[in-house]
Amino acid sequence: EPEVTQTPSHQVTQMGQEVILRCVPISNHLYFYWYRQILGQKVEFLVSFYNNEISEKSEIFDDQFSVERPDGSNFTLKIRSTKLEDSAMYFCASSGMTGVSGEAFFGQGTRLTVV
């Protein structure tokens, strides 16, 4: 069964360093998303991406964040200068369509720990 895959599963980084989280969405999907979940809190939307551009972003997704789809398969989230409060589980998701039939499928997540 097709699935969204994310790498790495766990990343530890020093405050101020750049990190890139990688995702391979389901191959025929068109819409891509990043969410995060701080430990013990809700899953929060960061950004959606369609047709090679950001379609929506939340207030969390500030200038320190960027996304890219560098080729036909990968979808990346970059955090330019990490802060302690960026420590969270980051989930990539993809869906084939939105609206009425928009099942979104999530990856296993990358646990980011900023020290």
């Binding site: 819409y31 969410y35 809700k42 939307f45 959606s48 939105t98 609206g99 009425v100 039939s101 928009g102």
Partner: protein
């Protein structure tokens, strides 16, 4: 806010019993999705119910949707210890004019099934 909110926050039952979790939301939706998350792991898509549907089944799962009350329920019948996980509802943001499948998650119900 748009977020779904689940109740109860925690539910503890014996194997074989049924588990019912509820979700309420605030604005119009196109669909509502239920996800499962094992501790520290990814989000597994369980079921999507559309706004024009009232009930949907998938194996031991039964989901209902009452758009007049802006609420949904997830019933797991004949629960097993392996069903122990957090369960989240997620709504789209049709009523807020959000685009392209942004999801709003509740805080989840932690289900514990004792053998």
């Amino acid at each position: 806010s748009q977020q779904g909110e689940e109740d109860p926050q925690a539910l503890s039952i014996q194997e074989g019993e049924n588990a019912t979790m509820n979700c309420s939301y605030k604005t119009s939706i196109n669909n509502l999705q239920w996800y499962r998350q094992n501790s520290g792991r990814g989000l597994v898509h369980l079921i999507l119910i559309r706004s024009n549907e009232r009930e949907k089944h998938s194996g031991r799962l039964r989901v209902t949707l009452d758009t007049s009350k802006k609420s949904s329920s997830l019933l797991i019948t004949a629960s097993r210890a392996a069903d122990t996980a957090s369960y989240f509802c997620a709504t789209d943001a049709f009523g807020r004019g959000s685009t392209l499948g942004r999801l709003y998650f509740g805080r989840g119900t932690q289900l514990t099934v004792w053998p």
